[in-house]
Symmetry: D3
C-alpha cells in the first residue's frame, strides 16, 4: 500500500550515511499566511561510525514534555562519533511547532503527533511528520527510544515502558531494553486511547521500542532530566552502539497498570485537593482526592476513592479539573517496591 | 483622601456581624458583552462567635496558585463557629475571574491583583476588588494571611514570609505570626517589583500580615496543601481566634534573599536544563542551569552560574525560558538548615 | 462496509438493558492541550421498563438551541419508569462541547454535528459522536425525535417536521408522529444543504423520525419550551411507550416550503429592518425587509420583496446581515391557517 | 474644569449651522496596527431649518441594540428639512466600532460607551467619543433621545424611561417627553450600575432626556422597530421641531422598578427554563425560572421565585446563565395595566 | 472517477450561455456559527458574444495578492460584449473569504486554495471552491489566466509564467500565451511545493494556462497593476476573443529558476538586511542579505551568499524572517536582460 | 512635577559613563501570565570615547518599521569607539515587544509608543518605556535621531523631517541636522494626530531632533536601508561625534505638507487601485486612485482626485482600504524637484 502513497515532502539537510557528526534539519515546506514559501525546520543530528545498529532517539513528540529534549540536546552536542559503533539519529523535538509553542499539540493544525501515525504525506503538517518517521526514519532504525513525560496536565512517577506484543522475541527485547534504560520504575503500559501512536507503528515495524514517562507538569527537574540522560546512554549501550561501558543499573520498581480499575476519572469539575502524592502507597477504598466546587464556598467536596491498591503512579497536574479528566492512576507493584 | 473616593460597587450577600457561619458572595456588577447586567461573584465565608479579633484569610490573589484555595475551601466548610472566639473572614479566590481562568491575572482586564492595590472603586474589575479589600475588609481585620505559591511559571521551597517594617512592634508580631504558621522554610522576602501589592496595603494599615509561597507550577500536592492547611489553623491559633490548641510546630529553616545577587535572570531564551533542584545546596560559581538554543541541535548551551551560595529557593518552572525571566533564586540559610 | 470500520471509542457509563432510570455519560476520550488524558462527557439518561419500543430523544444537536435541552432535562429528571413500557434514551446535549460553548458548532473542531453524519469513529470528536449515534444508538431505537430551533442566527414559527421519503409506510408513520407531537405548525421541510444530516441517517435506517424548529435566537421562552415539553410526551404516547394518556392535541397549521421561491437570501449586507414578523401573512411582491448600509447615513436601503405569498415562517435573527445569509422563508399555508 | 481639558480630536465633516440636510461623519483619528493613519468614521446627519430647538437623537450607544439604528437610519434618509423648525442631529451608531462588531462594547478598547461618560479627550476611542458628546453635541442640544434595547443578553417589554431628577421642572419635562414618545410601557428606571452613563451627563447638563428599552436579544422585529419609528417622530413633535402633527398616542402601561426586590439574580449557572414570559403577570413567591445543571442529566434544578409581584419586565436572554447574571426584573404596574 | 463524486453545492446566479454581460455570484451554502443558513458569495462576471473560445480569468486565488483583482474588477466593469467574440468568465476573488480577510488562506478552514485542487465537493469550503473550478468552470474554458503576486510575505520581479508540460503542443501554446501577456519578465517556473495547484489541474485538463507573479507585499502599485491590466487584454487578444487589436508588446526579459540552487532559504531567524534589490544583478558568492539576531545588539549577523548568479527575482518581504523561510530566489537570465 | 513621580522601574545593564562599547539591556520587570517574575529586555548599546556631545539613536518606536533597526544593529556592531568623540546611545528597538511581534503597537498593552509620551513610570509597559526615555535617556542627550518608516499600512518617499518650533535657534539646528542626514527628500511634517509623540517630548527638552520616514509596507529594501545607514553616520558627523569625515551629501528634494488639503482620506472601503505611484507628479483634480467595492463585480468604483498638486509623498499600502484611512498625501515641492 505504501507504494501508492505520494513521496513525503520532507528533505533532510544532513547525510545519513556519512561517518562523523552532522547537525541539520528535516525541512518540511509549509505555505501559510506568515510565509508563503516557508518551511518547518525540525532539528536533527546524525552521529555515525562505521557499520552497525541504528538507534533512533526522539523527544518532543508532545511539545510540552522536556526530559527527552534536554537529554537529547545534550547528547547531540556531546556524543563523540569515535565512542560509538553504528549510528545514532537524534530528533530532540519531533513535533517542532508544538515544542516551540510549548503545547502538547501542533499550533498549525491541532495535531497530536502521537495520535497521527502512520501519517499521511499529503495531510496536515503533523501527519506529514508522522509519515516521514514511518516511511523514512523507522526503516533505517533497529532500536527506537521515544521520550515522554506527563506534559502540562499530567504527572508521573518516572518510568520506562514496554508494551505487550504478539512477537515474543520482540517483546522480550523491548523489555530488556526497558530494563537497560533503568528508570526508577518500569511499567507495562496500556494506553487509554491507542489509535495512531508512534509506539504501535514502530513496534509493528519490528523495532526494539522503549517509551518513557519521566515526570510532568510542563517542566523538568535536575532529577527527572537525570533519568533521561542516564537512560539514553544506557539504551545505546544495550543496543551495542555506545561501547564505553555496560548500562549503569540501579534498583527499579516494576509496576503494572493493565487492570481496568487503575484509572480514576473525575465525574465532577472543580478544585483538586490531592490526598496522596506520586509514589505513595494506596489502599483500595482510600480517598485519593477531594474535588471542591469552585463557584462558592461552604459546599461539601466530592471524594474520589481508590478502586484498587498499589501506588499512585500518575495524577492530574493542574489545580482545576474538568469532568472526564483522568484524576489518578493507581499502579500495582509487581516487584521491587 | 479616601473620603473623596466614590463608594465601592461591591456588595456582600453575607452579614459580617452575626454569629454563626455564613457562606455567600461579594457581588461586583460587571456589564460586558456576555452579560449586560452581569456580576462577578466572589465566594466568601464569614465565621463569627462573639467579640474578638478578626482574621482575614485569602487565597487566589493570583488565580493559578492552589494551596491557599484548597486550605480555605476546607476551612470554610469545616470550621465550627463554636471552636473560635472572634471572627474569621475567608475569601478563597480573591481574584475569582483569574481563578476560574486558571491564570495569574484577570481575563477581564489583564489585571494582576497583587499589583493593583490600593485599588480604585471606579477602575477595572481588578482595581475594584483591590479597593474593596483596602477600604472594607482590611479595616475590619486584625490578622491577615494571604496565600501564594509560584503559579504556573515559578516553583518555590515552601515558606511563610514576613516583610521588614518601619514599626518594630508590628514587624515583631508579623514575624511571630510567620513562625506560628510554621512552614518548612521561613523567609524575609524582598519583592522584585513591590508597587501595588496587597502586602504593603495591609501592612501600612497596621495589620499583622503573613504571606506565603508554598509550591508552584500551577498545581498543589498533598504535601504542599498540607502546609497550607496546618498553617491556616496555626495562624488562627496564634491570633487567639482558634482556641483548640497552641500552634503545632515543627522544625523550620530560616532563609534570606535580601542580597541583590540572589536573583538570577536569563539573558538568553531556550530550553532550560536545571542542574540543581529546589532545596539543594548551592555554592558560589556552581552551574545552576544550562539554557539550550531550541532552534537547532549541536549548539553549545549557555550556562548560568550561582553568584552567591545557599540553597535553591525558587526556580523558573516551564521547560522553555525567555530572556528576562527569573531563572533561579539562591537563598542564604540563616538558621535551621 | 460498517464491518470494516474501527470500533467507536465512546463508552457509556449507564446500562441500556436494565429496568429503572439511569443517569450517566457517554464518555469520549479526547487528548488535548488542556487535558492529555481527558474525555468529553455527554450526559445521557436511560429509562426502561420491560420489553417494548425504544425512543431516542435528543437536543443540543446544535449547541445554541434550547427548547430541546430544557424539555429533555425535565423529562430525564421527572420520567417515572413505572409510567412507561419499553425504553427511552435521552441525550439532552448531543454535541456537548458545542452546547457548553453556546455555539452551533463544536469549539473543538468546528464541526456542525448535523452535517457530520454518518460520522467517522477515527475522525474528529464531532464525527465520533455522529458515528456513535449511527452505529450504536440508532440501531437500538424505533422512534427518534431530534429537537432543533433556529439558534442564534435564525428564528422560526414553532413547527414539527417530517421529510418526504421513498418508503411510503415509513413516511406515513413519520407524518403521524409529527402530528402527534402537535406543535402550532407542521411543516414538510426541504433542507437548503442536506448532506450529512442526522435526519437522513435515521430515516435511512428505517426509523420513525421527527424533527422540530421551535423558536430561535439563542434563547427559549416559557411558551416555546412549553411546545417542546408537550411534544416530547406526545411523541412517547404516540410510540406507545408513555402509557398515561393519548397525545394531547390542539389545532395546528400545516405549512409547506418545498417551492424553490420560499427562500429569500440577502445579496447586500447591512442593518436589517424587518417589515413583517413571524407568522404574519405575506403577499407576493410585498416588501419583507429593508437592508440599510451601515457605513454611513442618508443612503437609500435595499428592499427585499416576497417572491411568493404565505406566512413568514423563518427569518434572519441578528440585527446585521451579510451577503448570502437567508433573510426570510415564506411558507405556503396548506391547511389550518 | 473643562477649560483645562485638551481639545477633542474628533472633527465633523458636516456643518451644524446650515439649513438643509447634510450627511457625513464624525471623524476620530485612530492610529493602530491595521491603519497607521486611520480614523473611526461615525455617521451623522444634521437636518436644519431656521432657528429653533435642537434635538439630538442617538442609537448604537451599545452596539448590539437595533431598534434605534433602524429608526434613525430611516429618519436620516426620510426627514424633509421643510417639515421641521430648528435642528435635528442624528447619530444612528454612537459607538460605531461596537456597532460594526455587533457587540455591546467597543472591540478597540473594550469600552462600554454608556459607562464612559463624561469621557476623556485623550483617553481611549470610546472615551473620546463620550467626550465629544459631552463637550460638543450636548451643548448644542435641547432635547436628547437615546435609544436602547436589551442587546444580545437581555430582553425587555418595550418602554420609554425617564429618571428621577433633583430639578422638578426638568423632571416634569422629561416625563412629558417620555409620555410623548408613547412606547407600550413607560418606566421610571433605576440603574443597577449608574456610573458613567450618558443619561446622567445629559441630565446634569439640563437637557430634556428620554431613554428607551424597546426589545432585546440582538435583533429587532417589525413591531419593536415600529415603536422606535413612531417614538422618534413623536419626540420631535413634543419638542416642537417636527410640526406636521401632534404626537400620535396609544394606551401605555406605567411600570416601576425602584423597589430593591425587583431584580432577581442567578446564584447558580446552568440552562435557563423560563416559566413566565415578558409581560406576564407574576405573583410574589411564584416560580420565575428553573436553572438546570448542564454538566449532567437527572439532577434537580434550582428554582428562582419572585420576591415581589407585578409583570415580568426584563429577562436574561441567552439559554445559558452564569452566577451573578440578572435573570429577571419584575416591575410593579403603576397604572394602565 | 468523477462520476462517483457528489454534485458540487455551488450554484451560479448568472447564466453562462446568454449573450451580454451578467454580474452575479457563485453561491456556496455555508452553515456556521455566525449564520446557520449562510452562504459564501463569490462575485462572478460572464461576458458573452456568440460562439467562440472561452477564457477564464481569475484573481484572488490567494487572498492577499491584488494586481489580479484590480485588473479583473476593471475588466468586469468595462468590457463591452460587442468588443468580443466568444466568452469571458471573470472571477476576481476566487477564494473570496481569504480575499475579504486579506489573507493568503481562508479564515474559514485555513485552506490554501492553490494547494486544494482538484478539490472535494463534500470537503471544506476551500475544497468545494476548488472542485467547482475543476468540474464546472474549467470544462467550459479554453484559455485560463490565473493572477498571482507575492502576497504579504514575498515580492517578485513582475513576470508571467508557463510550466513545462508533457504535451509539446500544449506547452507551446502556453508559452505563446505567456509571451502575449507580455509582462516585463517571463519565467519558466518550478514550484517548491506543487501538490494541489490550480495550474496542474488546468494543464492536465488540456487548457492553455498562464500564471503570473506581478509584485507582492500585500499591495499593488499603479505600475504593477498596469502590467495586469495590459496583460489581461493581451491574453484575450491572443485567444482571439478580444478582437480590437493585436497584443500590445514591449521588451521582456526571459528568466529561469529551474536550477536547484536558485532558492536561498534562511536557516536563522532575525532581522533581514537586504543587500541587493529585486532585478539587481547578482554574482555567485555575493552576499544577498544579512540576518541580524533581534534579541540583543552587538552580535554579528549571519550572511547569506548567492549560490548562483543572475538577477534577484524574488525575496522575502517582511522585515523579520524565520528559519525555513525562502529569503531569495536568484534567476538566471536566459535572454533579453 | 517630575519630582513627584515614582522612580522608573527600568534598569540598564550597561554603564553610560565608561569609555568603550557596551552591549546590554534596558530591563523592565513585567509580571504576567507567561512569567510571574519576567522582564522585558530592550537591547541597548552605549559607545563612548571621552567627553563630548551625546547622540541618542532609536529605531523600532513602531515595531513594524525596519530601516532604523537595520542601520542601528549595524552601527552597534561596527562603530569603533576610537572613531568618535563623546557618546552614542543606540536603542535599535525602542518598543521591543512591538518589534518582536512585528506590530506597530505593543502586544502587551496595545500601546502606540509614539502616542504614549511623556509616559508614566507606574503605567503600562509602553508608558514605562516612554517615561524612561523622557526622564533618563533624553536628559543625557544632545542630539536625537528617531527612525520611522510607514510600517505595514503606509508607504513614503524617503525623507528626513524637522518640525516647526517656537525656538528659532533650535529649529535652525534641527533643520541643519535634517539636511545633514541627507535623505532623498526633506520634509516639514505636520502630524495628523500629534498628542503623545516622542518628537514633541524631545523638542520640548531642547534637543536637536530629527525624524524620518524612509519607506514602508513592513519591509526594507537595500536602497531604503541604505538611506538609513548613510543618514545615521551623517547625523553623527553633524553632531561632531563621528569625526571621520564631513557628512556625505547628495541632492535632496524639499517638500512640504503643511497645507490642509495634502491629506486624502478614503470615505469608502474596498479594493484600492492606485493610479499614481510614490514620487510621481500630481496635478490638482487628477485621479489618485479608484476604490472598487469588493463584495461584487460590475459596480462602478469611487474615484479619489487630488485636491492639490505636487508629488505623491505617501500612500495607503495594503490592497484593501477602510473608510477613514489615509489614502494619499500629496506634497508640495519646495525646491530641488
Amino acid at each position: 500500500m505504501s507504494a501508492l502513497l505520494p513521496p513525503n515532502p520532507i528533505t533532510a539537510t544532513v547525510p545519513f550515511d556519512q561517518d562523523g557528526i552532522h547537525h541539520g534539519f528535516l525541512r518540511l515546506p509549509y505555505s501559510c499566511d506568515s510565509s508563503a514559501w516557508g518551511s518547518i525546520m525540525i532539528p536533527i543530528t546524525v552521529v555515525r561510525n562505521g557499520i552497525g545498529m541504528t538507534a533512533l532517539l526522539t523527544g518532543g513528540n508532545h511539545g510540552d514534555e522536556y526530559e527527552g529534549p534536554i537529554a537529547l540536546q545534550g547528547l547531540a552536542h556531546d556524543l563523540d562519533p569515535a565512542s560509538i559503533e553504528g549510528r545514532v539519529i537524534i530528533v530532540p523535538f519531533m513535533n517542532t511547532p508544538a515544542f516551540h509553542a510549548a503545547r502538547r499539540t501542533s499550533p498549525l493544525d491541532g495535531g497530536n503527533l502521537n495520535r497521527s501515525f502512520p501519517g499521511k504525506p499529503d495531510g496536515t503538517p503533523t501527519q506529514k511528520i508522522a509519515d516521514y518517521f514511518t516511511r523514512t526514519l523507522l526503516p533505517m532504525s533497529d532500536y527506537v527510544l521515544d521520550f515522554h513525560s506527563g506534559g502540562k496536565t499530567l504527572d508521573f512517577v518516572p518510568f520506562a515502558a514496554a508494551h505487550l506484543l504478539d512477537d515474543g522475541n520482540q517483546q522480550e527485547a523491548c523489555i530488556a531494553a526497558m530494563h537497560a534504560f533503568n528508570a526508577p520504575y518500569a511499567m507495562t503500559l496500556r494506553e487509554i486511547d491507542a489509535v495512531g501512536m508512534y509506539d504501535t507503528t514502530a513496534e509493528e515495524a519490528g523495532k526494539i521500542f522503549v517509551s518513557t514517562e519521566l515526570g510532568g507538569g510542563g517542566t523538568a527537574t535536575a532529577r527527572s532530566a537525570g533519568y533521561a540522560k542516564k537512560g539514553a546512554r544506557n539504551f545505546l549501550r544495550y543496543a551495542g552502539i555506545l561501547t564505553d561501558a555496560a548500562p549503569v543499573l540501579e534498583p527499579s520498581i516494576e509496576i503494572d497498570t493493565t487492570r481496568g480499575d487503575c484509572y480514576h476519572l473525575a465525574e465532577y469539575g472543580g478544585l483538586v485537593e490531592c490526598l496522596v502524592d506520586l509514589g505513595d502507597a494506596v489502599k483500595t477504598g482510600e480517598p485519593l482526592a477531594r474535588i471542591w466546587p469552585s463557584d462558592r464556598s461552604g459546599t461539601a467536596p466530592r471524594i474520589v476513592t481508590a478502586r484498587s491498591g498499589g501506588i499512585l503512579a500518575a495524577r492530574h497536574f493542574p489545580g482545576l479539573i474538568a469532568p472526564g479528566d483522568c484524576l489518578a492512576v493507581v499502579a500495582e507493584v509487581v516487584s521491587g517496591g
